[in-house]
Symmetry: C2
Amino acid sequence: MTETTAEVAPELACPIAPVVDIVFSRWTTPILWSLNEYGRHRFVELERRITTITPKVLTQRLRQLERDGLVVRTYHPEVPPRVEYEISALGRSLAPLFAALAEWSVNLDVVEQARQDYDARDRAPHRT
Amino acid sequence: MTETTAEVAPELACPIAPVVDIVFSRWTTPILWSLNEYGRHRFVELERRITTITPKVLTQRLRQLERDGLVVRTYHPEVPPRVEYEISALGRSLAPLFAALAEWSVNLDVVEQARQDYDARDRAPHRT
DNA sequence: GACAGTAGGTACCTACAGGAAAGTGAGCCT
DNA sequence: AGGCTCACTTTCCTGTAGGTACCTACTGTC
């Protein structure tokens, strides 16, 4: 944890926000997860794995991830064109982060319980 | 829409997506970070720390975080009303995650360099 | 009586992310 | 000669998150 010089963006109030923007922006999580867990993917393979994503958005996210150096795109100028996406070394360095998230997911039921409690508490008495 | 499917959300293709939704939805990161790093906050204190957030959105996010059991809201029915927000035990359990993110932020310059390389590469030759 | 401060609530509006659907181009199959 | 596949691209359209602005109740202070 290198202390970055001076005040870095007081409007953020939070040094990890830029990382979150890069790593956890919409759709990037399932893409990175897929590439990290199951290795190299072609475009249609990703499309089929993340069934709810549209090709337009998938392209956008992949371009963004490629630009950020998190995935590597390899174009094979063959007859039916073939493109392969794989996670980069930088992307692989996120693995412990993903592992930590996966571990934390044991708390999902706690969250679910908290929601039910909150909703139940909120129905009966008037909120202060 | 209430399809009781056997497989748990094939459209996600990624078990950590629910966690990301809870923890890294918009604005929650600076809020949780502030409460975790600097302790208890009043509403205006949070507002002043995260300067770009509007009161409406801050209220929304705080309610959501309270409902999810990540922050605790304490209302003091005093003359100028006073409300305090603090992080819950569950929220505190995110600390190692935040630490991991903070550590990863050393790679931000790598990302920045990748972006510059990508943009430079993309200007000159035609993209395949 | 005017105003400030607190913790929001509410109504209205806009911008942009993302969805749907069709097109592209090059070649191989039949 | 039409159909197929891949990897997108383009156009059009909608939903909704979030912004702006104003409102509440209460009291102390000027």
